[in-house]
Symmetry: C3
Subunit: 303 residues, 3 copies
């Protein structure tokens, strides 16, 4: 039985299976609409995350399955002092597969160690991993670019704390000749351990979005939070550097695509939403299809 706890739990071959399944689901949605009949997803959100939760629940319902769960630790038994592992052991008697978000790093991994027949999907564990976001990112890139090889990928904003960025970089780095451009203020640079996974000639770092944008096939935006800066002067000076506008997009390629894990605050100007290169809302749709494919794959492996 397989679980998905961190993005690299799947080989590129396993991702390829999921991508093919996504293509097939998109082409034949009706064919899959009864695939999970008589199956239940436990959607356990010990920490709220509406978008991710609704994406999982939509995925299961569109497969004809049912959903049980909670959207908030406040209504879970954790208030009575029950351990996470006891909760999971009970839920395993109710549900066939489990998507779980928890504020503690490693919670999903721990859960995956005690179950015997219910696959666990990590829907976010603290600042650690969020593999189905990476899955959404990869499916979106593949949809628009047809390949992962030979792409130049800009990652912009908070590269220090952005877990989705760290995961995406590691996942993309497994393909041929992927180049990374890390665009961030000094305070929020990509941490050394993540850079060490990448060949020196395959990345460079810059503070300037405007000058870097013209070479990119993909621009992955993320939020720059004021709290991350040592001085608010520095924040005020830099913040506009990392806001994507139509002006900055003028020098970008026509077929560059703009991704964002959402929620967006102000790092992408609303005017950009109408740009055909802006695919961050489409990305949430691909995320849902990815979760459908993932549920199918993990349930088949658990048989």
């Amino acid at each position: 039985m397989k679980h998905l706890i961190e993005p690299l739990d799947f080989t590129t071959e396993e991702y390829e299976e999921i991508f093919s399944l996504v293509d097939d689901i998109i082409a034949n949605p009706i064919h899959y609409s009864h695939f999970c009949e008589n199956k239940l997803l436990a959607s356990l959100f010990f920490e709220p995350s509406t978008r991710t939760r609704l994406s999982f629940e939509t995925a299961m319902l569109r497969l004809g399955g049912g959903v049980i769960g909670f959207s908030d630790a406040g209504v879970s038994s954790s208030t009575k002092g029950e351990t996470l592992l006891d909760t999971i052991r009970v839920i395993e008697n109710y549900a066939d597969i489990c998507a779980m978000r928890h504020p503690k790093e490693g919670a999903s991994l721990l859960a995956s160690k005690v179950v015997t027949k219910m696959p666990i999907i990590n829907a976010g564990d603290g600042g650690h991993f969020h593999p189905t976001q990476t899955l959404a990112d990869l499916i979106t890139i593949r949809h628009y670019k047809k390949t992962f090889d030979n792409l130049t990928v800009g990652l912009c904003g908070d590269l220090k704390f952005g877990r989705t960025i760290h995961s995406l970089v590691r996942a993309l780095n497994r393909y041929e000749n992927v180049k990374f451009v890390f665009i961030s203020p000094e305070e929020l640079k990509m941490p050394e351990p993540f850079k060490n996974f990448i060949e020196k000639e395959n990345y460079y770092e810059t503070r300037e979005l405007t000058s870097a944008i013209s070479n990119l096939d993909i621009l992955y935006m993320s939020r720059v939070q004021k709290e991350r800066f040592v001085s608010s002067d520095e924040y005020e000076r830099l913040k506009d550097y990392y806001v994507l506008t139509e002006e900055k997009l003028k020098s970008a390629k026509d077929d560059m695509i703009i991704l964002h894990p959402l929620p967006r605050v102000n790092e992408i100007a609303p005017e950009v939403d109408k740009d055909p290169r802006a695919v961050y809302f489409e990305q949430t749709k691909f995320g849902m299809y990815g979760r459908m494919a993932l549920i199918i794959k993990l349930l088949e492996d658990a048989k």
Copy 2:
């Protein structure tokens, strides 16, 4: 594609379509029990409202569809500062139709401007509109009276702030020879703008429920809140005037019907519940059937 943002968004002909559909659903519930198979309702309650939410969710489930959503803004992404419109754009990638309650006036209208394929139903936007309550009211009246023409309709209680009352008056005023009796304390009289829609000879105002009741075909009760009064002496003096009792009902017609949008606090004495003229609990059932018909109609228009 149609939305339902305010009660007058539908013509009387469109309401007639919905009423016919309701009749057919009541007559053949099994026929409709798979009508929304493979369809999802997003039930987005940025403000809690259990009765309305459960009515929508019941409606969708009884049509064979699925439901995703939240019952409280606390568990939605709005806590992360995401704009309503971004939320709606994401949800449109998950669901086929959306019922939305929001504390801000105009929120549903705004949402309806950004969607391209998901109809929006306003399930209440602040003190503004609550069109599916009006729908429930109309269906109940039509069920018992067979017509809207030539009715004398008493509206009692808080006519100043009661949005469901304002909407119902405007909706009923489109029919032939409907007479209104506005029964309220001075402080809570029907506001001028709403009276201006009505021909002068078609309404009168009174402070006395007891004397007005004998002419009514319909009595629509609403809650009189203490906080609305300038002086608490005035409140104490008047409050019993607006509590419906069996005693007051003695002079009412045998076929008068009593409506209330619920929740009721104490403005209808519990003894009245057993009176055959009391149909306010039946009204919630008609509300559910109305929402079933509405979902069907909007999904068909969106095809």
Copy 3:
């Protein structure tokens, strides 16, 4: 129409029907997977209880039915001052059967008095009754012991406030020659009224789990809360007496079974989980099957 408000609402013959139905559901789950098609369960949790709520919802979904409801009074209309009975009257227009948890004793009984077509299942009413926990207990015992007659049942921990223990004792006492061993500190002894139901020769009381364990066919553990003790010295002195360990289990019979209503805090050491006699997680599965059977039975009686 039947409701299940307290465990003794069902005769032993009625329980026998449910047990047979559980056997059949376990043997032929697919046969029952459409049994409740077009039926809705209202899952009304005016007080949170994740495990019980998810068990009911799983039960209904596994029968092919739908679920509406809330997990928390905060999102229910009770915040608007509506009475419980008005809420129930409205819900009866939406749902076919109702599971309800409420902090007030007698709430479910009250609800069952106003409904005319929707059976009520008490999912816990304050410190009063929790009959579906008793159902889970009975099904688990019957599964492992094949009979209720001639068993020796140890109940350990908080026998004073533990409602599930009181209910189980009363339910088991209806069978032939059941012996009870009440194991608790002085402060938490079984209350007189419950002992009075039992023949004097059919029970004895002790403070020692270790010495009592060897005769037991069933050991029902419960939590000993620090707050229940007059002095914290006394608590410190006694608490380990009521923690079940592998050491204490050495003198127990090989076919004794260990039950617990969960959540467990520390009264069963984690090492015990692997012991084949530990069936408290299985017990939650039997609870779900029991709720499936109960829903079927009550819906059939309501026809």
